[in-house]
Amino acid sequence: MEEALLRISEVSKHFGGVYAVNAVDMEVKEGGIWGLVGPNGSGKTTLFNTILGLYKPDHGTVYFNGKCISNLAPHDIYAEGLVNAFQLPRLFYQMTVLDNMLVAARGHQGDRLVNSLFLRKGWQEQEKGLIDEAIEILEFVELGKWAFSPAGELSGGQRKLLEVARGLMAKPRLLLLDEPAAGINPALGKTIFQKLKDFSGNGTTFFIVEHRLEILFEFAKWVYVMYRGRVVTQGEPHDVADAPAFYQAYLGGG
């Protein structure tokens, strides 16, 4: 059997007596867009934070690429190629859009203290390449014109796009996105998903929490439904949409 890119095994996380995530098993395989839905408070964001190493799971293990990452620090998980974009953009607002992108580059030699002082020739070439990549991604999300503007000057929708673009800049194997289409107009939401789908050809898999189900279901190849900390159903979008558990999760009655 092919090893999944991300495998969550029996993961639980509780706060006091409340199980935010309760014995969750999940797999995300390489390629395409994977969805995670559920009503508010069902544990989606907690699960994401546990995957990212921001929370330590109380039980269970998270495997990425076959390797246990439950005990790694967030920056080490990032180095493995598992990257996250925040629900509310957390940009570096006083820095330019391009600098925001360059911070996200993985393995930039110039990030090291010694290299910044002495071996400056070494990373200048690398930086040139990274800038080309950054501009390409910025053009792709239609922010190319803004490369040298401070990120603080962008509009709300553009900030959202930059947050996603910054995630793409890391060339992650898996990019977790928490509600990329929330708080922006429906057309732009759809554009973002279309762009992600186009981008997923480049070796990046997306795992997305989204409340805008109509958009997510159009683009996702597999959807997990969480309710009260558990996975209640999963499957291809059209199957999930017909599943009783899915209705129960959203309309209550359970």
Partner: protein, 311 residues
């Protein structure tokens, strides 16, 4: 009068180094180091004690830098756990504790009475003017080195990461940056610089006293950085120049002032901080953008990139 001017230049140089180091910590990395004077003290006492046992002055300066950097590393441990304002108080207290230790323990360096320090370079038979000129050379040589280091750091991907940590620690951590490591490094470099400044200071004054290291020194340096413009190395130097000019100016005007200039300075410094923060929070000079060769190339040779994207 000429001597007064030369003396002024020495002080601008020494405090220029201190301001550069605080700018590195606060302006670029966002670490509110309210204990700057502690590291100044460490450098000064290291220099004084080592030079007493006959160690040549460059080694004394380097040892001061290293000792100070070591304490910078120690301070970085709570710095990662405490919020900015709590950290500020903690480091402030650290500085006071150090000062009180050297004040009460007379075996260290004469306690309250201090001890004399030999000048770094003494030329037999030379006039006092020449001595000050030699000091200007030495101080500005050190200042130049610190400035080059600060500029290299500011204009590199390293500096970009450090600024990102200042802007949003959580986001920087989520983008794979080990903020603990970066903050520790910055505190070590900043402390090393101010350690050198401490050595230069006491060898220029020829003595070291605990009361040279009161918290007011820290605040004076903060005014330099806030006034000049945090996140701009030229701003730090400008701030150091202006604040020293102000100090020397009020001292000169002593006969015609109604108050003791020292007290007047304290009052006016307080007013100055309030005015700067209210009306020009970014300081006189704006934060300098990150400049690397590759970035400059894209920015000013824009056609190249556009052609490529247009293909």
């Amino acid at each position: 009068m000429l001597l007064y001017g030369l003396d002024f230049l020495v002080f601008v140089g020494i405090f220029g180094i201190v301001a550069l180091s605080l700018n590195l910590e606060f302006g670029f990395a966002g670490i509110a180091n309210f204990g700057k004077v502690a590291f100044f003290l460490i450098g000064a006492y290291t220099y004084a004690l080592l030079s007493k046992i006959g160690i040549p002055f460059p080694l004394c300066l380097i040892a001061g830098a290293l000792t100070s950097a070591l304490f910078g590393l120690l301070i970085s441990l709570p710095a990662l756990r405490l919020r900015t304002d709590y950290l500020a108080i903690a480091i402030l207290a650290f500085g006071e504790i150090l000062r009180l230790i050297v004040k009460s323990e007379s075996w260290i360096a004469g306690g309250d009475w201090g001890t004399s320090v030999a000048p770094a370079i003494s030329i037999a038979g030379a006039s006092h003017h020449v001595g000050v000129l030699v000091n200007i050379g030495l101080v500005y040589f050190c200042l130049l080195i610190c400035f080059v280091i600060a500029q290299l750091l500011a204009n590199s991907p390293y500096g970009r990461v450090v600024r990102a940590i200042r802007e949003d620690e959580i986001a920087a951590e989520a983008l794979g940056k080990d903020r603990a490591k970066y903050k520790a490094q910055i505190l070590m470099i900043g402390s090393a610089m101010v350690g050198v400044a401490g050595g230069l200071y006491v060898q220029y004054l020829h003595y070291v006293l605990p009361d040279m290291f009161v918290p007011m020194i820290t605040f004076t340096v903060w005014i330099m950085v806030l006034l000049g413009g945090p996140g701009n190395n030229w701003g730090a130097l400008l701030g150091a120049g202006l604040v020293e000019l102000f100090k020397y100016g009020t001292n000169l005007a002593k006969p015609i002032l109604p108050l003791d200039p020292i007290n007047l300075q304290y009052i006016l410094f307080g007013v100055l901080i309030i005015l700067v923060l209210f009306y020009r929070p970014q300081g006189l000079l704006k934060e300098s953008p990150i400049k690397t060769k590759a970035l400059e190339l894209v920015r000013y040779g824009k056609g190249v990139v556009n052609n490529k994207a247009g293909k």
